[in-house]
C-alpha cells in the first residue's frame, strides 16, 4: 500500500515529541543534544514529505539549510559542553545552574 502524507507527518510528529520530551527530561547534556538533533531531523522529514507530495523543491532546499544549521550548532554546542565539563567535571545539566537568582 502506498504511504500517505499523513503517515509521514505522524511519524515526524512522534519523532519531534520524543525529542522534546527527551530535551526536557534528560539530565545528561549529550543526551539532550541528541534529542535536539532528533527534533531537527523530524522537522527535516516533514519538509521532505511535503516537498515530495506537492512536487515542490523548496522543501528540500529548506532541508539543506536546516542541516547546515544543525551541523554548525552541534559544533558550537559540543564546544561549550566540553568547556563546561572541563570546569565542572560533570555532565549533569542541573549542576550548571550558577545563573540562578
Amino acid at each position: 500500500m502506498v504511504p500517505q502524507l499523513s503517515w509521514y507527518l505522524a511519524l515526524s510528529a512522534v519523532l519531534f515529541t520524543i525529542g522534546v520530551v527527551g530535551v526536557m527530561l534528560k539530565r545528561n547534556v549529550i543526551s539532550m543534544f541528541m534529542c535536539i538533533e532528533l527534533m531537527l531531523n523530524a522537522v527535516n522529514l516533514t519538509f521532505v514529505a511535503f516537498s515530495s507530495f506537492f512536487r515542490d523543491l523548496s522543501g528540500q532546499l529548506f532541508v539543506f539549510i536546516v542541516m547546515t544549521v544543525a551541523a554548525a550548532e552541534a559544533a558550537v554546542g559540543l564546544g561549550i559542553i566540553i568547556t563546561v565539563f572541563r570546569n565542572r567535571e560533570s555532565l549533569d545539566v542541573d549542576d550548571a545552574s550558577s545563573l540562578r537568582l
Partner: protein, 721 residues
C-alpha cells in the same frame, strides 16, 4: 464708630515681646533683658489701653466702640469674618484689668522665676498668652474671639506644662487642653448656629464695611419659651446652651472644671494670671457679650444660674479640705466663677463683670501671695508644713490679709461690694428664674459665702498664724509624699521674705483689693451718703446690656413680647419673664422698701462673712492640722469617676479596638499582605531564572505550544467555515 489704629498695638506689643524673647532671648539668656522686654511690651499695652479707655472720646466715655479694622480675613458668600478689633465699654473694662494685672504679674514673675533654665521660654509664652487674651476680648466677631479663645487654651497648655521635669505637669497640661477642647466643641457649634440664624457673626454693626451685628439680629427675634424642648430646637436657646458649654470648659464650671486644680502644677504666676484673673474669666466675658442671646433664652439662663450656683457650692466644699495652698485657691477660683455665672443666670450681667474685676484683683493677690510664700518656704506648698509665717514674711502677710478680707466679703474691701451685689440681685431677681428658685439660689450663694470665709480663714491661719510646723519631720504629718520635694533633711534655714520685684506687685494688688470695689457701691448704701441711683460701674457698663430693639418702657412690655409657648408664671396678668432691660441694671425706680431690703441683705452678707471668719479662726487656730472629711479631701473622687466612666473606656477602646484591630490589623495587615503577595509572586517568577536549563527548555516549549495552538485554532476555525 471711631477708628483708631492704636488699638491693634495693644495686642501686637505682647506678640512682639513673645517673638523677641523667643528668638533673641534664647540666645542671650540674659534674665534682665528678657524680663524687661516682657514687662515693657505688656506695659505698652497697659498704657495704650488706659489712654484709649479714658481719653475724651475713649471707650469708657463715649457710647460708640473704638474700632480698628486690620484686614478682611474671610469673606465667603454671606460669611464674613474680619480681623478687626473693637473696644467698647465691656472689652474696655476687661482690657484695663487684664493689662494692668498682667503687668503686675509679669513683674512678679521676673522675681519668682529667677534662676530657671527656661526663663526666656516662660516669658515668651506669657506674652503670647497676653496677645491671645487681648485678642479674645478685643475681637469684634465670634471667629476672631475664638482664635483668642483657642490661643489662651494653647498658652495655658504650654505654661502648665512649663516645668519639664515635673511628672505631673504634662498630664495636667493635657487635661487642661482636652477639657477646654470639649468646651470648644460647644462654642463652635453655637457659633455656626448663630451664623445660620442671623447670617452674621459680628458683634457690632459696621456700615462702611457692610457688616451687620449678629447680636442685634438676635435681639429682634421673639423670646424662646421656657421649656426643656427649646434646648434642642435649634433656636436661640440652643445657641445659648452651646455657647455656655464652651464657657464651662474655659471657666471651669461643672462638668468641665476638673482641669483647674491639676493646672496648679504650673508656676504660680501662671496660676495667678491664667487661672485666676484672665483666662477663666473669658467664659464670663463671652456670656456677657452675648447677653442678648441669653436673655432671649430663659431656659439657658436657668441652666446657667443652676450650674453656677451648684459649682460655687461644690467647689467651696472641696476647697475647705485641701492641704496644698494652691489647690485651695484653685477651688476658690472655681467657686467664685460659679458666682459670676450665677449672676449672669439671673440677669445681673453688670454685677457679674464687677465680680470678675474685683476677683481679678484679690485672686491675683492671693495667688501671688501664695507664690511669695512658696518661694520663701523654698518651694514647699503643703500648708500643714507652714505656720507662723507672719513673723518671717510680713509684707506677704499684710497683703494677703487684704486679699483674704476681700474674698470673704468684709466691707469696704473689693469683694464685699461685688459679692453682695450678686447675692442681692439673685434674691431680688424677678425675671429669668422661677420665683421659688431665686430664693434657693440665694441660699446656696449664702452658704457658699460662709464656706468661702471659713476656708480662706483656714488658709490664712494655717499659713500665717498657727504654730510653726516647718521644722517638723515628714513622718509626723500625712504620709502622702510630694512629687517635687522629699524632705529627707529638714529645712534648716528659716523662711524669708521675697525680693522687691515680688512684693511690689503684692502691695499694688492689695491696695486694689481694698479700694477697687468703691467704683461699684450700690445705691442702697451710697444713698446713705447722697449717691447716684446707678453707681459708676453700672453707668459705665449700662450700654452693654441695653439693646436698641428694646426701647420699651415697662408698661408696654407685654404687648411687644412674643412668646412661643405660654410663659410658666403670670403675675397680675403679665408674664413673669420680662425682656432683658427690666433686670439688667437699667435705671428703675427703687422704692424705699426695696432699699431697706437691700440694706438688710447687705448686713446679712457682712454677718455671714464675719461668722465665717470667726468659725474658721476657732476651728483652725488651735488645731491647724484638723482632719477634714476624707470625701472632700479626695474631691468627691470626681477625677476617679471621670477616669472610670469616660477616660478608661476611651483608652481601652482606642488601644484594643482602634489600635490593635484597625491600625495594626487592618492597615498594617493590608500592607503586610500586599508585601507578602508581591514577595510570593516574586518567588514564583524566580523559577524562570533558576539557571535551571531544563526549566528554560520547558518554558520555550510552553511558549511554542501556545503559538502553535493559536494558529491551529485559527486553522480549525477556517476549516469549519
Amino acid at each position: 464708630m471711631i477708628e483708631h489704629n492704636l488699638l491693634s498695638v495693644i495686642i501686637f506689643a505682647p506678640l512682639a515681646g513673645a517673638v523677641i524673647n523667643w528668638l533673641v532671648g534664647r540666645r542671650l539668656r540674659n534674665e534682665r533683658f528678657i524680663g524687661i522686654v516682657a514687662c515693657a511690651s505688656v506695659g505698652v499695652s497697659t498704657l495704650i489701653a488706659f489712654y484709649l479707655a479714658f481719653n475724651s472720646v475713649g471707650a469708657l466715655r463715649s457710647t460708640q466702640p473704638i474700632m480698628d479694622h486690620l484686614w478682611t480675613w474671610i469673606q465667603v458668600g454671606k460669611f464674613r469674618a474680619d480681623f478687626a478689633l473693637a473696644m467698647d465699654r465691656l472689652s474696655g473694662v476687661y482690657a484695663l484689668f487684664i493689662t494692668f494685672v498682667g503687668l503686675l504679674i509679669h513683674v512678679f514673675a521676673t522675681g519668682y522665676m529667677h534662676g530657671d533654665r527656661g526663663y526666656y521660654r516662660f516669658f515668651a509664652y506669657l506674652n503670647l498668652f497676653m496677645f491671645s487674651m487681648l485678642t479674645l476680648v478685643l475681637a469684634d466677631n465670634f471667629l476672631l474671639m475664638f482664635v483668642g479663645w483657642e490661643g489662651v487654651g494653647l498658652c495655658s497648655y504650654l505654661l502648665i506644662g512649663f516645668y519639664l521635669d515635673k511628672d505631673e505637669a504634662a498630664p495636667a497640661a493635657k487635661k487642661a487642653f482636652i477639657a477646654n477642647r470639649v468646651g470648644d466643641w460647644g462654642f463652635v457649634l453655637g457659633l455656626m448656629l448663630i451664623f445660620f440664624k442671623t447670617g452674621s457673626i459680628s458683634f457690632f454693626d459696621k456700615q462702611n464695611y457692610g457688616v451687620s451685628s449678629a447680636l442685634t439680629a438676635i435681639s429682634g427675634l421673639p423670646i424662646d419659651g421656657f421649656t426643656w424642648h427649646a434646648i434642642f430646637a435649634g433656636g436661640v436657646t440652643s445657641i445659648a446652651v452651646l455657647l455656655f458649654i464652651g464657657a464651662t470648659g474655659k471657666s471651669a464650671q461643672i462638668p468641665l472644671f476638673v482641669w483647674l486644680p491639676d493646672a496648679m502644677a504650673g508656676p504660680t504666676p501662671v496660676s495667678a494670671l491664667i487661672h485666676a484673673a484672665t483666662m477663666v474669666t473669658a467664659g464670663v466675658y463671652m456670656v456677657v457679650r452675648c447677653n442678648t442671646i441669653f436673655t432671649h433664652a430663659p431656659t439657658a439662663m436657668f441652666i446657667v444660674a443652676i450650674i453656677g450656683a451648684a459649682t460655687a457650692l461644690f467647689a467651696a466644699t472641696i476647697g475647705i479640705a485641701q492641704n496644698d495652698i494652691k489647690k485651695v485657691l484653685a477651688y476658690s477660683t472655681i467657686s467664685q466663677l460659679g458666682y459670676m455665672f450665677l449672676a449672669c443666670g439671673v440677669g445681673a450681667f453688670i454685677a457679674a463683670i464687677f465680680h470678675v474685676m474685683t476677683h481679678a484683683f484679690f485672686k491675683a493677690q492671693l495667688f501671688l501671695g501664695s507664690g511669695s510664700v512658696i518661694h520663701g518656704m523654698h518651694h514647699e506648698q503643703d500648708m500643714r508644713r507652714m505656720g507662723g509665717l507672719r513673723k518671717y514674711m510680713p509684707i506677704t502677710w499684710i497683703t494677703m490679709c487684704a486679699g483674704w478680707l476681700a474674698i470673704c466679703g468684709v466691707p469696704i474691701f473689693a469683694g464685699f461690694f461685688s459679692k453682695d451685689e450678686i447675692l442681692w440681685k439673685t434674691w431680688s431677681a424677678s425675671s429669668f428664674v422661677p420665683q421659688g428658685f431665686n430664693k434657693a439660689l440665694w441660699f446656696v450663694g449664702a452658704v457658699t459665702a460662709l464656706l468661702t470665709a471659713v476656708y480662706m480663714t483656714r488658709l490664712m491661719v494655717m499659713t500665717f498664724w498657727s504654730n510653726e510646723r516647718f521644722h517638723a519631720s515628714s513622718r509626723e504629718l500625712d504620709h502622702e509624699a510630694h512629687s517635687e520635694h522629699h524632705h529627707e533633711q529638714v529645712a534648716s534655714h528659716h523662711p524669708h521674705e521675697s525680693p522687691l520685684s515680688m512684693t511690689i506687685p503684692l502691695i499694688v494688688l492689695a491696695i486694689l483689693s481694698t479700694i477697687g470695689g468703691l467704683v461699684g457701691v450700690p445705691y442702697a448704701l451710697s444713698s446713705l451718703a447722697g449717691g447716684h441711683p446707678d453707681n459708676y460701674f453700672e453707668r459705665t457698663l449700662a450700654p452693654v446690656v441695653s439693646h436698641p430693639n428694646e426701647n420699651m418702657t415697662t408698661g408696654e412690655a407685654t404687648s411687644e413680647v412674643h412668646w412661643e409657648t405660654p410663659p410658666p408664671q403670670e403675675i397680675d396678668g403679665k408674664p413673669a419673664f420680662g425682656p432683658a432691660h427690666e433686670a439688667a441694671g437699667a435705671e428703675h425706680a427703687a422704692s424705699a422698701t426695696e432699699l431697706t431690703e437691700e440694706r438688710l441683705f447687705t448686713l446679712i452678707s457682712v454677718a455671714i462673712a464675719l461668722v465665717g471668719i470667726v468659725i474658721g479662726w476657732i476651728m483652725f487656730q488651735r488645731q491647724p492640722l484638723r482632719q477634714m472629711p476624707r470625701l472632700l479631701e479626695n474631691k468627691y473622687y470626681v477625677d476617679e469617676a471621670y477616669d472610670a466612666a469616660i477616660i478608661n473606656p476611651i483608652e481601652v477602646t482606642s488601644r484594643e479596638g482602634l489600635w490593635k484591630v484597625f491600625d495594626l490589623g487592618v492597615i498594617d495587615g493590608f500592607l503586610h499582605t500586599l508585601g507578602r503577595t508581591i514577595v510570593d509572586l516574586g518567588k514564583t517568577f524566580r523559577y524562570m531564572q533558576l539557571g535551571f536549563v531544563r526549566a528554560y527548555a520547558a518554558i520555550i516549549l510552553a511558549g511554542a505550544l501556545i503559538i502553535i495552538g493559536y494558529f491551529a485554532y485559527q486553522g480549525a476555525q477556517l476549516l469549519m467555515k
